[in-house]
């Protein structure tokens, strides 16, 4: 006797038809019976239906579609206009869509750039270097023949530096700077006191004090930390897949000092924490409270987590500018409730 085993492909096709049919509306009793018979025919049918449903409703699928959205082509327009929430411009925009991205002309010396909450901006520099400005951030570009100086005044930015040993690329924070020759790295201001995080994805970056000498007392205090030789290379070197934390602390004498700590980061983890460049936030085992705080940087809508769920650990990839979508996905995933009042989304048990 020959029993015909259905191929995985034909099962997937049938599963796709059933999910589309279920999505259209309630099944007739006859269809219900057909579906049950089909599911009973092979355990793989059950799995294929579950998988097809999961893909169909996957938040990632939705996210990927949002990323692809462009102004509709003329031929599409006759089908009725789709609401154009985020109109994307520029070639690079085909990849980005979760955050609004606008390409602007190349900067001249001393220009200031700012990004809105939820906006990610690309700033090309004349030498081919690129700056990606994260949400709610401000920086000034001072671009000269012998130096490339960026003053990061607020927020975070990622720098892809075109190699040029004659023109050091320097990102200045309030209390420290990160200098590179040819590399890619992110600098984030963590508070208004001057704390800063430097993450290096390739090459080497020196984290050092900015050139104007601080007051004598502070300078003495700092000398101990930054290995004296008061030259241009008195900083801490951060190499690929490392991250440096700059903190402003007080030494034993009560004098303010700049402290820097270095740690290795797994390449995957670094890439994940830099997903904001594509308008995405990636979490791997962080608490819900931490994730909510991260979302707060990107939107005026704030997520408040009440009680025990704040300590739940979550993983996933989300659109940075869609905290409501994140809250929905989390509420479903953790089986907790979510309510929205104005700009506050509350997650609770």
């Amino acid at each position: 006797m020959i029993t015909q085993r259905q191929s995985a492909k034909s099962i997937d096709e049938a599963a796709a038809r059933w999910v589309a049919r279920q999505d259209a509306g309630e099944l007739t009793p006859a269809e219900e019976a057909d579906l049950s018979a089909w599911l009973d025919s092979d355990i793989r049918c059950v799995g294929a239906l579950a998988r097809a449903q999961a893909y169909f409703i996957s938040p990632r699928m939705e996210l990927a579609m949002r990323m692809l959205r462009r102004p509709p082509a003329p031929s599409v327009a006759q089908w009725g206009t789709l609401p154009r929430r985020a109109v994307l411009m520029g070639a690079a925009a085909s990849v980005l869509g979760a955050a609004v991205l606008v390409r602007r002309p190349a900067p001249t010396a001393g220009r200031r750039y700012a990004s809105e909450v939820g906006e990610v901006r690309r700033i090309p520099l004349p030498d081919g270097s690129r700056i990606t400005l994260n949400t709610d951030s401000v920086l000034e570009v001072d671009y000269r023949e012998d130096s490339r100086t960026i003053r990061l005044l607020k927020g975070e930015a990622y720098f892809e530096v075109a190699k040029n040993p004659d023109r050091p690329f320097i990102v200045q924070g309030p209390k420290a700077q990160a200098r590179a020759v040819g590399t890619a790295y992110a600098v984030r201001l963590e508070d208004d006191k001057g704390s800063m995080r430097v993450q290096v994805t390739s090459g080497r970056v020196a984290v050092e004090l900015p050139p104007p000498a601080p007051p004598a007392t502070a300078w003495q205090a700092l000398e101990r930390l930054w290995t004296p030789s008061a030259g241009a290379t008195n900083g801490t070197h951060v190499t690929a897949n490392q991250e440096a934390e700059v903190r402003i602390g007080l030494n034993a004498a009560g004098v303010e000092e700049v402290q820097v700590s270095l740690r290795d980061v797994a390449p995957g983890a670094l890439g994940r924490s830099l997903m904001w460049r594509e308008g995405l936030l990636s979490f791997e085992g962080v608490t819900l409270a931490e994730a909510a705080a991260e979302f707060a940087r990107y939107s005026v809508q704030k997520i408040v987590v009440k009680g025990a769920p704040a300590h739940e650990r979550i993983s996933g990839l989300f659109a940075a500018t869609d905290p409501a979508g994140f809250a929905r996905a989390i509420a479903l995933g953790l089986r907790i409730k979510s309510k929205r009042e104005g700009d506050i989304i509350t997650l609770y048990k």
Binding site: A8, K9, I11, D12, A15, A16, R17, V19, A20, R21, Q22, D23, A24, G25, E26, L27, E32, L35, S36, L39, D40, I43, R44, C45, V46, G47, A48, L49, A50, R51, A52, Q53, A54, Y55, F56, I57, S58, P59, R60, M61, L63, A64, M65, R66, L68, R69, W79, G80, L82, P83, V95, G268, M275, S282, G316, L317, A329, L332, G333, R335
Partner: protein, 211 residues
């Protein structure tokens, strides 16, 4: 908005909650799972079959509340499916048995590639959607991004509801196929080897028949 599963009666059918749990906790790890299964190609298992059965077990499990680490759990389920298949196979290839040890060793630590794959998963999805036929993609986007019902989409596109349902089915079918195939492309070399091996096997079988 989503009706699938809401009115289902058979015990084997899948609740909307479970589909959502799968979407959130299992779908993101599917590329890593497929890559891992493919690396275990020596086990002579069909990756698609194992993936479908793994989903079936996860979909029909009474409760998923106790699963703290869905990724590891999914890999464990897939592992048990392979073992089950080996037990049922009439002739177990020698290599398959010795590979089980390797499989268990891998279980303990997901490889770095797994992490990388999970990260590029969104890019895979994006490419798969981009590759859809224009009309199918338009219907899909209106349904999933705009949240329009199939009926509403039919009205807007001036097509019958039946046509829209077919477009949605087509979209799901293509995405499922595309996302399964994506891994095969990446692992092309290993795939080629496997093909060569199976051709050799077929030759041997043909010879036996002749004699």
């Amino acid at each position: 908005m989503l009706r699938c599963g809401a009115t289902l009666k058979s015990t084997k059918q899948i609740t909307i909650e479970r589909a959502q749990w799968l979407a959130l906790h299992v779908v993101p790890h599917e590329p890593a799972l497929r890559a891992w299964l493919k690396r275990k190609g020596g086990l002579h298992c069909d990756v698609d079959d194992v993936v479908q059965e793994t989903y079936a077990i996860l979909a029909t499990k009474a409760s998923v509340d106790a699963i703290l680490d869905p990724k590891t759990y999914t890999f464990q389920v897939a592992h048990s499916v392979i073992l089950q298949q080996l037990r049922h196979a009439r002739v177990v290839p020698i290599t398959a048995v010795s590979d089980i040890g390797a499989l268990e060793a891998v279980m303990d630590q997901p490889s770095p590639e797994d992490t990388v794959l999970a990260r590029s998963e969104l890019e895979h999805v994006r490419r798969a959607i981009e590759a859809l036929p224009r009309k199918t993609r338009a219907a899909f986007v209106m349904r999933r991004v705009e949240g329009l019902s199939q009926q509403e989409i039919a009205r807007r596109m001036n097509l019958s509801q039946h046509t829209i349902q077919k477009q949605v089915a087509r979209g799901i079918k293509l995405l499922l196929a595309q996302l399964g195939r994506e891994e095969a492309d990446e692992d092309g070399v290993a795939d080629q080897k496997k093909k060569t091996r199976s051709v050799e096997r077929d030759h041997a079988a043909a010879k036996r028949k002749v004699h």
